[in-house]
């Protein structure tokens, strides 16, 4: 199997030193977003009869904006329940947003069913987490791949379908294609199934690929193969990629930009390297401290952080805390954090965060001792 270099030239530029970052950024500015989410919210109504008082709901996603650009990948990182999968499904129009809008090539997208939705899905495809349940066990690989080809009108005659199905299998490295085409999903390994799922998404010839934890169900040794495959496809087709994950290290490997979510809110975002090497929001710092990092196992610096002393769990999304949803667990929380949702603060180089510790008006001298030491020493 050929191993491809996963980094595009542009992303290598970006990961370089400050000097080389600027041209890459200009290039990114030229690329207009193909798919945009503007201040989207999603609230799932709760079942049960309640005659009086307001209807309750699970506030799964709260005021999230993001943009996907051709040939670029964006990672959304968060724990379970942070709303990251909901974002992927909202973007795929599996269910409608509660408020806010989703724009494809600048035009608002509406409706989750019917002809318009089908046209939308020609451009935007979703890859699910679990390759064991996202393929129909009753059908062969040929069926799985020929359906989208016919539905989206990319192939009409049987010969065309056959040729394109084989080409798709080859693109995802399932070669020789003849060996796989008549198999059923249960005859394939997890990695091979996920390749079929990716091929099925590609069959629609989309411009945007939404990958919802595409490797978390796979064995460790084959995860990189699948990630490298997605990176190669991104380069070949100039796909805009959304990568949903709980593994922040893989976001660093995979994505140009990273958003960190907590309890339905985006807390921090920017170029992956910036966010992961210079995390600003206390939650991002906690996440990074918690992630297994054997390269640091021999050092004791972890124990020093006040963040690790904070126990607790993400809040209930039915009745989330007021203000910043992280404040009950945050060792640096201030009174204002309990009252208001922190606005976005730009930190330069495309890096931003929603945290009062970095706000213009709330950044007070007397707060410094409570803040992460490195942050304080930087200023």
């Amino acid at each position: 199997m050929s191993i491809l270099h996963p980094f595009s030239k542009s992303s290598v530029d970006k990961t370089g030193q400050n000097g080389s970052r600027k041209p890459a950024k200009n290039k990114a500015n030229q690329d207009t977003p193909i798919l945009e989410a503007l201040h989207i919210r999603k609230e799932f109504p709760l079942g049960g009869l309640k005659l009086f008082g307001p209807r309750r709901g699970v506030k799964a996603v709260e005021d999230v904006s993001l943009a996907l650009r051709p040939g670029r990948s964006l990672a959304v990182v968060g724990e379970s329940g942070s709303g990251k999968t909901t974002i992927a499904r909202l973007l795929a129009q599996l269910y409608p947003v509660s408020s806010g809008s989703i724009r494809f090539r600048g035009a608002a997208v509406r409706g989750t069913r019917g002809r318009k939705a089908r046209a939308y899905r020609r451009h935007v495809q979703l890859i699910f987490q679990d390759p064991f349940s996202s393929l129909n066990p009753m059908h062969t690989i040929r069926y799985h791949l020929s359906r989208p080809l016919r539905i989206h009108g990319h192939a009409r005659s049987a010969a065309q379908v056959e040729r394109q199905v084989k080409a798709l299998l080859e693109r995802v490295n399932l070669v020789p294609a003849e060996q796989y085409i008549d198999k059923f999903p249960h005859q394939l390994s997890g990695g091979q199934r996920q390749r079929v799922a990716i091929a099925r998404a590609l069959a629609a010839q989309p411009e945007v690929l939404l990958a919802d934890e595409p490797v978390s169900m796979l064995d460790v040794s084959i995860r990189l193969d699948i990630l490298n495959l997605l990176l190669r496809l991104k380069e070949e087709d100039r796909l805009a990629l959304l990568y949903i994950t709980h593994d922040i290290a893989s976001a660093r490997y995979f994505a140009d930009e990273t958003l960190v979510m907590y309890a339905g809110q985006v807390v921090e975002g920017g170029p992956s390297e910036e966010v992961i090497q210079q995390p600003k929001h206390p939650y991002t710092q906690l996440l990074l401290l918690s992630a297994p990092a054997p390269e640091q196992a021999e050092e004791q610096h972890r124990a020093d952080s006040p963040l690790l002393a904070t126990r607790g769990d993400p809040p209930s999304l039915i009745d989330p805390p007021k203000g910043c949803r992280f404040h009950p667990r945050c060792p640096y929380a201030m009174p204002i954090c309990r009252e208001q949702v922190p606005p976005r603060t730009d930190l330069g180089a495309g890096h931003w965060t929603h945290c009062f510790l970095y706000g213009e008006t709330t950044r007070l001298g007397d707060l410094k001792p409570a803040r992460p030491t490195k942050v304080a020493s930087e200023e």
Partner: protein
């Protein structure tokens, strides 16, 4: 940490099914677990790591059969507190009678299962589930003493005592996992087998549970067999690590040796399969191909079809675990590349030097650079 063994597994083999169609899930595995040690067992799905653990705990059910091997357990001698000084003679685990097994399990060896969500009984509160163990294994204990022990156990694992009467659904995932660890600790066993104890948890909670396990180990002195597919986790928590592939141990080493100088190509591949959070961002390849189907394991070394360094002998002769260098007696590897008798080609650069890992930096500068990154974090 003392150096005496708590568990010795000798040439253990487990088959699923029998005769011709048998699947060799565990094949000739031997290792020694020392007292107070955390022994990490890593492998991909289907590598036989859970089967091995269940064989040690005698939990296998047909069609699984132990076809070969011995498991010896060496009890701790500090039983005076119970009044009945149990014998400290070695226990042949595979030969235990049902009565012997009942006395052995939980007091000597307990298990934390993979899914915390399902291991607890949803219709009983935590208190009932802890005291149930005590009632079954310590018939002489008074009701009040059981209650006190239950509270003590909860405090030990960091659950507030007022949660004693909570039901599993009222606890978060991390608390449930703590409760299960509390139950496993109820009789103060010598050995706890933990089968993917943190797989279903978020990273932040996972970190808390790992810290808890380490702290409890330091305090109570039990040994742990920690099973996971996540090698990066094992590198942080284990003292000794064994890597399994297709039912066999391919490498076993102390945590540091394994990380800094992996010998087996599979270990090397695994270490390069998870992206790093720190250090230079680099191209990574993973391991080509997929894990073998145990019904049709390749002849010779099972890893040879995926191995970049395979040569003639790998396809015919099954390699055995052997010690490579006298300075690192704990590091054993099953690979023909290190066996001059097999006539291997020159050792590939990746596996030969101290600089096997992380950006090809020598250990000293590498540590420095890691430090640089950590200081830039905070």
């Amino acid at each position: 940490m003392t150096n005496d063994a708590v568990l010795e597994v000798k040439h253990l083999s487990v088959d699923y099914g029998s005769a011709a169609g048998a699947v060799h899930a565990v094949d000739d595995v031997s290792f020694t677990l020392r007292r107070g040690q955390i022994f990490g067992l890593a492998g991909e799905s289907g590598s036989g790591k859970s089967t091995l653990a269940y064989a040690i705990a005698r939990l296998l059910r047909p069609p699984a059969v132990v076809t070969k091997g011995e498991v010896w357990f060496y009890p701790r001698s500090d039983e005076a507190s119970d009044g009945k000084a149990a014998s400290t003679a070695p226990v042949n685990v595979l030969g235990l009678t049902p009565q012997g097994l009942r006395a052995f399990r939980w007091r000597r060896l307990s298990i934390v299962f993979q899914s915390a969500m399902n291991a607890l009984n949803p219709v009983l509160d935590i208190n009932t589930q802890i005291t149930d163990v005590l009632r079954a294994h310590e018939p002489g204990m008074s009701r009040k003493a059981r209650q006190e022990r239950a509270l003590e156990l909860l405090r030990l694992v960091g659950i507030a005592p007022d949660r004693l009467h909570s039901y599993p659904h009222e606890l978060s995932g991390g608390m449930r996992q703590r409760a299960i660890i509390a139950i496993a600790l109820a009789l103060n066993p010598d050995l706890i087998i933990m089968d993917e104890p943190t797989t279903a948890l978020d990273v932040v909670v996972q970190r808390e549970i790992l810290a808890e396990i380490s702290a409890l180990r330091d305090r109570l002195g039990f040994s742990v067999i920690f099973i996971t597919h996540d090698l990066s986790l094992l590198l942080e928590i284990s003292d000794q690590i064994a890597i399994m592939y297709a039912g066999r141990l391919v490498e076993t080493a102390k945590q540091r040796a394994l990380y800094h100088q992996p010998r087996h190509p599979y270990t090397y591949g695994l270490l390069h399969s998870f992206p790093k959070l720190h250090g230079p961002r680099q191209n990574m390849t993973g391991i080509p191909g997929s894990p073998p189907d145990l019904r049709a394991v390749p002849a010779g070394c099972a890893f040879n079809p995926r191995c970049n360094y395979a040569f003639g002998a790998c396809q015919h002769v099954q390699p055995r675990l052997m010690t490579l260098c006298p300075a690192e007696p704990e590091q054993q590897v099953a690979c023909h590349l290190y066996d001059p008798k097999m006539g291997p080609p020159d050792l590939p650069e990746a596996l030969s030097g101290q600089d096997a890992l992380i950006g090809n930096a020598a250990p000293a500068p590498q540590k420095e650079s890691a430090h640089e990154h950590s200081s830039s974090l905070f």
